[in-house]
Structures are given as structure tokens and as C-alpha cells.
């Protein structure tokens, strides 16, 4: 599969998710995979195949500890609090994240935040609360249906410090040295050119700015059948880089202090020990 094919399939897959989950509450109890497409939830998903013990899932949408719908349960399983979820428009979270980067980004009032692959806007809205009215959040996503859904959510929530724009994270439409923080949640693994994504993040950050991303990485070798599967690609697995390579790509882009802040194993069955969800931080040197 070439880069254009990958981009096209990713866009089509997430457009479908945006249409299905964007405007209404999620009702399918199996729809809450951290890794996106429900279609990937068979043997090719890092998360929550239906026949799997939910205790082994990173997402555990079946958990009875949930106060809310399955999308909220999935979101809480990857690190969002009930209070955070109650503070944002209901359909902003589509159960697609694998972490809560905003919680780890130590955002301050007045900061400018760029979210790579903003989806329904969940992380943008949480960031918007943190940076306040003098701050700004820019969500970039390449899927028109996602940006429309995010836009609708912003209107519902009355957000005036969040902008969404259609764009590719490998070609950010954001000026040099203009952002304080770049966040992203389970998206960079979907890019066919991850080093370019990190170079763009570096370019848009001001010196001293920081990147805080949640993503899926590999800790071992994927089975061959999964490596070549487009479904596993859109399910956030076969596009994932080995963790060392991920950190090296960040460092090669110019960042310093690239480190894994936290790591959670998310694979089961043949993916056990192979796939992990990580929170990664790095700084653009002053």
C-alpha cells in the first residue's frame, strides 16, 4: 500500500465513524475501541475484540463501573475523568483516543495549542478550558466529516477559543513558531510519514514549546498478516512504529528530552506484548 492509498483508506474509515458517532450518542457497546474503527475489532485490533476478556482491553467499554454510555466508558478507561467528560459536548469524544494528552500537557492560561487529528474535538475542548479566553486551540483534521462534527460540537458548547480547519498533519497550515503546545491522541500512528509530522510539529512550536502526544507504538514484532492489513492500519496497529523508532523520529525532528511518560500494554492474543499505548513528551529547545 502506498501513502496515498493509506491516506484515502484512513480518511474513508474515519469519515464513516464521524457520520456514525458525530451527532448522536454511541449505543453500540462494542463501539468504544481506543483504536477506532469497529471493523478493526476482530483479530487485527490492539483493543477490545468482542470475544476478549474486558480486563485485558485498554478500553473496556463493557465495564460496569461506567456512569455513562459506552463511549464515555471507553474514554474513562484511557484516562479521561468523569468531570472532564461532563464538561464537554456529548459527541466530542468518539471513543477514538488512547490517552488524555491534555491532562499531561500542563497547559496554562493564554497558551496556543495545536491538536493533530482533532477528530470530534474532545481534546481541543479540554485544552480550551485550560488555556482560557486569552488562549487559543487549533484542531487540524484531514477528514471533512470529522471537522464538521467538531465544528458542530464547538457551536453546541459555545467555544470561542477553538478553531477547526481541514488539513493534513504532514502539511500543517499553521505558522512557524506560533504554538506553545502540540497535542495529539492516537493519530500519528495513522500517518504514512511520521517523521514529517514531527518536523511539522517542531516548526509550528515556538522555542521552548512542547509536544505531548498519546499514541500506539510497537514493543515487538507484528505477525505478517497484520503488518500488511489495511484494516489493522486504520485500527492503529500496523502503522505503529517501534517505540525506539518513534522517539528517534521525534529527536531527529529537532526536539530534546523525548521520553515516554507512561506506557500501557494494550494488545491481547497474538498481539500481547507487541502493542502499547504511550504518552510521549518532548521539548523544542530554546
Amino acid at each position: 500500500m502506498n501513502d496515498d492509498e493509506i491516506r484515502q483508506v484512513v480518511r474513508e474509515t474515519y469519515a464513516r465513524i464521524a457520520r456514525e458517532r458525530g451527532g448522536t450518542a454511541v449505543t453500540d457497546p462494542n463501539a468504544g475501541s481506543c483504536c477506532g474503527p469497529q471493523q478493526a475489532a476482530g483479530d487485527a485490533s490492539c483493543c477490545a475484540p468482542q470475544n476478549m476478556d474486558s480486563a485485558q482491553s485498554c478500553c473496556a467499554p463493557q465495564s460496569s463501573a461506567s456512569c455513562c454510555g459506552p463511549a464515555d466508558a471507553a474514554a474513562m478507561a484511557v484516562g479521561y475523568t468523569k468531570e472532564e467528560l461532563q464538561s464537554i459536548p456529548e459527541s466530542a469524544g468518539m471513543g477514538l483516543g488512547c490517552g488524555n494528552p491534555t491532562a499531561l500537557a500542563s497547559l496554562s492560561e493564554g497558551e496556543v495549542v495545536v491538536d493533530l487529528g482533532a477528530g470530534g474535538g474532545i481534546d481541543c475542548f479540554l485544552a480550551a478550558h485550560a488555556v482560557g479566553k486569552y488562549g487559543k486551540v487549533i484542531g487540524v483534521d484531514m477528514t471533512p466529516d470529522m471537522v464538521s462534527a467538531a465544528r458542530t460540537n464547538a457551536q453546541r458548547g459555545g467555544y470561542e477559543n477553538v478553531d477547526f480547519r481541514l488539513g493534513e498533519i504532514e502539511h500543517l497550515p499553521v505558522a512557524d513558531d506560533s504554538a506553545d503546545v502540540v497535542i495529539s491522541n492516537c493519530v500519528i500512528n495513522l500517518s504514512p510519514d511520521k517523521p514529517q509530522v514531527f518536523r511539522e510539529a517542531f516548526r509550528t512550536l515556538r522555542p521552548g514549546g512542547r509536544v505531548m502526544v498519546s499514541d500506539i507504538v510497537l514493543c515487538g514484532e507484528l505477525p505478517d498478516a497484520i503488518k500488511s492489513s489495511l484494516t489493522a492500519y486504520t485500527g492503529c496497529i500496523s502503522g505503529a512504529l517501534p517505540v525506539e523508532e518513534y522517539l528517534a523520529a521525534i529527536t531527529a525532528a529537532g526536539f530534546s528530552d523525548a521520553e515516554v511518560v507512561s506506557k500501557t500494554a494494550v494488545g491481547s492474543g497474538e498481539l500481547e506484548g507487541v502493542v502499547a499505548s504511550v504518552n510521549v513528551r518532548a521539548v523544542k529547545p530554546v
Binding site: 464538521s148 465544528r151 480547519r165 493534513e168 500543517l172 497550515p173 499553521v174 512557524d176 516548526r203
Partner: protein, 52 residues
Amino acid sequence: MDILVCPVCKGELELTVEEENEKEIVTGSLYCAKCDVRYPIEETIPNLLPPE
């Protein structure tokens, strides 16, 4: 608006407003003179996907 740039050359964009409300631009375009590409704004969303 000053943060928005051309996704290809990262140069400045020239804004044309066709329709706006009290809060934002609803329809219009962003033109990159250097690349000679016009990026549309539709339903308040700038489409800054790089040209094919």
C-alpha cells in the same frame, strides 16, 4: 487568522470574505499568491488540505 498559513509554502494567505456573521467568516477563500492556490472557506471551515 495570523496563525493560518499555506500548508505547502507556509507563506501568508490573502483572505477574501464572501459571507460573514458577527462572529466569523462563513464563506470565502484564502489565496496563496506564491503557490497560486485558492483554499476555500465553507461553512466557517477553512479547507487547507494541500492540493493533490
